[in-house]
C-alpha cells in the first residue's frame, strides 16, 4: 500500500502493459473471462462479416492489463474504485503503456485515500483507455 508521507500530488507510475499484443493472448482472455465474441478471436468473421480490419482486443482485456499496472502501484486489496472509458480499439501487434497520476490525497470516512488519473496509450501515443481510480493508503 502507498504511504501518505512518501507520495505527492502529481506523482506518476507507468509500465509497459504488453508488447506486440498477440492474438493468442486475446484468446487467453476470452477463455478466462468467458467472453467468446468472435470479434475478438475469429479473423474470418470479423473481417468478412463485421467489416473490421482484423480481430481486436476485448475492452476488458485492456482494462485488465491496465489494472495490473494499477495494483502493482497501489498494492493488493487497496482499490476502492476503478473505472475507465474505452477510447480506441486495441489491435493485435499493439504495444500498450499504462500510466497512473496522483491527482488528490484526501480523507474518507474509513481512512486516507488517493485519487488517480489513469491513461493507457498505444505505440502511436493514441489513448486507448482513460479513467480514474481511488485507493486506500497508509497514513
Amino acid at each position: 500500500m502507498l504511504k501518505e508521507n512518501e507520495i505527492n500530488v502529481g506523482d506518476t507510475h507507468s509500465a509497459v502493459l504488453v508488447e506486440d499484443l498477440k492474438r493468442t493472448q486475446i484468446v487467453q482472455y476470452a477463455g478466462a473471462s468467458g467472453d467468446y465474441n468472435p470479434l475478438h478471436t475469429d479473423e474470418i468473421f470479423t473481417t468478412q462479416i463485421a467489416g473490421y480490419p482484423s480481430v481486436f482486443a476485448h475492452g476488458m482485456l485492456s482494462m485488465g492489463l491496465t489494472g495490473t499496472m494499477l495494483t502493482d502501484y497501489v498494492g493488493d486489496g487497496a482499490l476502492k474504485k476503478y473505472g475507465v472509458r474505452f477510447t480506441n480499439q486495441v489491435w493485435p501487434g499493439d504495444t500498450l503503456t499504462g500510466k497512473a497520476t496522483i491527482i488528490e490525497i484526501r480523507q474518507e470516512d474509513d481512512g486516507k485515500v488517493v485519487d488517480l488519473l489513469i491513461e493507457t496509450t498505444n505505440q502511436d501515443d493514441v489513448s486507448v483507455i482513460t479513467g480514474n481510480a481511488t485507493a486506500k493508503i497508509e497514513s
Partner: protein
Amino acid sequence: MAIDKFLVEASHIMMFARSVGDANPIYHDEEYAKGTDSGGIIAPPTFAQSSAQFDPDYFLRPKIGGEGWFGSGKEATGSKPSKDSSGGGGGAAMGLHAEQHFEYHIPLKAGDVLTATTKPGNSWEKESKRAGKLKFSESVTEYRNQNGELVITATGVGVQTERAVDS
C-alpha cells in the same frame, strides 16, 4: 441478467491473472497469499467480469447442443446470435463496450460464492463521425457474497453503433 452461483475459485483466478499479464503471486500462490494482509488468494480488480462463465444464458458463449453460433465455421458466419446484438461487452447484449466502472466494497477472495443481479441504468444517444449514431446504455450489477455482503458494484456502459467503427 442474474447469476445464482458465481464460484470464485483459485484456478480460475490464476488463469484470469495470466490473461491480463499479472504475475503477482497473490493471485496464484496460496502459501505466499497466506502471509499477506488478505490471508489468502484474492481476485484481480476486473475479475468480476468473468461472472459471464456462470451465466447459463450468456449469449457470447457457444452453447452445447442445438443452438447455432455466429462465428465462422465452414462459412464466414454461422447462424445469427440468439439475442439481437452486433457485439458484446458489459455482460449484456448491448454492442461494443464503452465504459466500465467497479466499486470495491470488501475484498473478493478465492472460496467466495457470489450472486449477481443486474439492473438497467441510464441510456442516451450521440452522433459520431467514426461510427454514425451511437446508442449508449448502462447496466449496474451488484455482486454479493455467501454472507449477503455487497462485494463489488459494477457499472457497464455499452454502445450500439450504426456501422463498424473506423480506425
